[in-house]
Amino acid sequence: MKIVRTVCKNLFLILVSFISVFPFYWMIVGMTNESKDITMGKLTFGNAFLTNVTNAFEKADLWRAFFNSAQLAIVITFFSLLICSVAGYAFVVFPSRGKEILFMVLVASMMVPFATKLIPMFRMFSNMKLLNTFWAIILPAIGAPFLIFFFRQNTESFPKETIEAARVDGCSEYQIFARIYAPMMKSTYAAAGIFAFMASWNNYMWPLIALQSNSKFTLPLAVSTLAADFNPDYGMIMVGIVMSTIPTVIVFFCLQKAFVEGMVGSVK
C-alpha cells in the first residue's frame, strides 16, 4: 500500500515535471528544424540550425534586439538598485513621520495598473521628444516602488550598532551606506537585482508603444513581430525564443537561491 502511494506520488511529480520542462526541449529542437517541420510537431533534432541562426541574425537582426534588451536591462538594474536601495535604507535609518507617509504613498503606487498610465506616458514622452529612444524605457523603470519596499524590509534586520560605530569612527552617512551597508547586503542586492533584471527583460507593453523603429526593438518586440508575420518563419522565431530564455535560465541556475528570494520576496 505504501509502495503504491509512493509510486503514484512520483508518477504525478514526473508528469508535472515533464510538462514543465518539455517546452524547453521543444524550443531547442525547434531551433534546429525548418519552419514547416516545427509546425508539424517534429520532435527530433534537424539540420537547419545554421540556416535558422543566419536568418535570425541577417533577416531579423535578432542580435541587435538581444543587445538592446541586454543594454536596457543592465542599465535599468544598475540605476534602480542604486537609487532604490539608498531610499529603502534611509526609510529605516532616518525614520520620521513625513517619510512614513511618503513611503505609504510610494507603495500605494504599485496598485496603479500600467494600462492607466499608458496614454499620459505616451503623450508625456512624445512632448519631451523622447519616444523611440531608450530614455523612454529607462526613465519610468528606475524608480521601482517594489524595490524600495524590498530594501526597506531587508534593512529592518540590519544591525543599528554597526551604523553607530561607523559614525563614531567619523564616516559620513553616504560612506556608511556605500562601504558598510552595501557590502553586507549582498544577498538582498542579488535578489533585488534579479527582480529588476527580469522585469526589464520581460517588459513588453510599454516598449511596444514607446519604441517604433526596428533598430530600437527589444527581444520580446522582435520575436513578437516575427511571430505576427503573415507567413512566420518558426525556425527563426525559435532562435529568438531561445535567445530570450538563455540569459534568464543561466541567471536562475547560477543564483538559484537569490532568484527564488527575489521572486517570492514580494509577499514577505
Binding site: 508535472v16 509546425t39 535609518v93 532616518f94 517619510k99 496603479v112 498610465k117 505616451f122 534568464t248 527564488v260
Partner: protein, 291 residues
C-alpha cells in the same frame, strides 16, 4: 548629539529618499492624474473636448467593454483556483522529507517562471496550432478524428490561454506554499498520520486551513496580475477569434493605438481596472488585519 548634527542627519535622510521618490511619483501619480482628466474628455486623436461623464456612460452600452471585462474575470475565475490547488498539491508532495529527487522536481516545476512572457506565449501558439504537436498527439492517441483548430475556436482559444497561464505560473505559486509549509512543524503531520488520517484528509483538514493566509494573499496577487493580463493574449491569440479572448488591458491598448485613437474613452476604461484593483487591495488589507 548636537542640534546641528541632528538636523544635518535629517537632511541626509531626505536627500537619500528624494531621488527614488521623485521618479516614482513623477511616473506613476502624474500619469494617473492625467488619465483621470483625460477620461472626462471625448474626441478622436488629439482633438479632445471636456464632456463630463460621457465616457463612463458609453461604457455601459459598449458590448466589447463587457466582453473583455467578462473574459478577464473568466480567466481569473477558472485559472486562479485551479492553479492554487495544483500549486498546493505539488508543494505538499514536495514537502515530504523522505521524497527522493525533490530538489530536481522542484527545479523542473519552477523552471517555466524564467521564460519571457512573449516567448512562452508564442511557443504555446505553436504547440496548439491546427497541425501542431498537441493535435498530432491527440490524433495519434485516437482521442480525436480531425484536428481541433484550438486558437480559432471561441471556447478552445480561452482554454489555451488558461492552460498557458497555468504552465507559466503554477511553479511560481508552488514556491510560496513550499516556503510556508516549511515553517509548519512536521510533527503536526506526524500526529495526523498516527490518528489514521489519509493523504487527502490531511490535505483538506490540516494543510489547507493552516495555509489559508498565504493562499488568500497569493490569490489576491494572482487576481491583480490577471486583471492586467496583456502579453499572453496578444501573442497567443491576439484577442481572437473576434473578441473571444481579448482582455480588458488589451482593449485599452487597442482603443488607444490600434483602432482610431479615442484616448479619453481608453482612459475611462483603464480607470475601471484601477478601481477594481484598489477595491481588491483594500479588501485584502482589511482581511489581513483582522487576522
Amino acid at each position: 548629539m548636537s542640534k546641528k548634527g541632528k538636523s544635518r542627519l535629517r537632511l541626509t535622510g531626505w536627500s537619500m529618499v528624494i531621488v527614488a521618490s521623485a521618479f516614482v511619483l513623477f511616473f506613476s501619480y502624474v500619469p494617473m492624474i492625467q488619465a483621470f482628466f483625460l477620461s472626462l474628455k471625448t474626441g478622436k486623436g488629439a482633438n479632445l473636448e471636456f464632456s463630463g461623464l460621457a465616457n463612463y456612460v458609453r461604457m455601459f452600452q459598449d458590448k466589447v467593454f463587457w466582453t473583455t471585462l467578462g473574459n478577464t474575470l473568466l480567466y481569473a475565475l477558472i485559472q486562479i483556483p485551479v492553479m492554487i490547488f495544483l500549486a498546493l498539491l505539488i508543494a505538499v508532495l514536495l514537502n515530504d522529507p523522505k521524497l527522493r529527487l525533490r530538489g530536481i522536481y522542484r527545479t523542473c516545476i519552477f523552471l517555466p517562471c524564467v521564460t519571457s512572457l512573449v516567448s512562452y506565449s508564442i511557443l504555446f501558439k505553436n504547440l496548439f496550432a491546427v497541425d501542431g504537436l498537441v493535435n498530432q498527439l491527440l490524433l495519434k492517441l485516437g482521442l480525436i478524428d480531425t484536428a481541433i483548430p484550438f486558437v480559432l475556436t471561441d471556447g478552445w482559444a480561452k482554454a489555451v490561454v488558461v492552460i498557458a497561464l497555468l504552465w507559466r505560473h503554477t511553479g511560481y505559486f508552488m514556491i510560496f506554499f513550499l516556503s510556508a509549509l516549511q515553517n509548519i512543524d512536521q510533527s503536526v503531520f506526524e500526529a495526523a498520520k498516527l490518528d489514521g488520517s489519509n493523504f487527502f484528509q490531511t490535505f483538506f483538514r490540516i494543510t489547507m486551513p493552516m495555509l489559508r493566509p498565504i493562499v488568500f494573499l497569493t490569490s489576491v496577487m494572482a487576481l491583480n496580475n490577471t486583471l492586467q493580463l496583456f502579453d499572453e493574449v496578444v501573442n497567443l491569440t491576439n484577442g481572437g477569434p473576434g473578441n473571444a479572448t481579448r482582455t480588458i488591458s488589451q482593449y485599452i491598448y487597442d482603443l488607444s493605438f490600434t483602432y482610431v485613437p479615442s484616448y479619453g474613452y481608453a482612459a475611462a476604461v483603464s480607470y475601471v481596472v484601477l478601481i477594481l484593483i484598489v477595491i481588491i487591495t483594500v479588501v485584502q488589507k482589511k482581511v489581513m488585519r483582522e487576522k
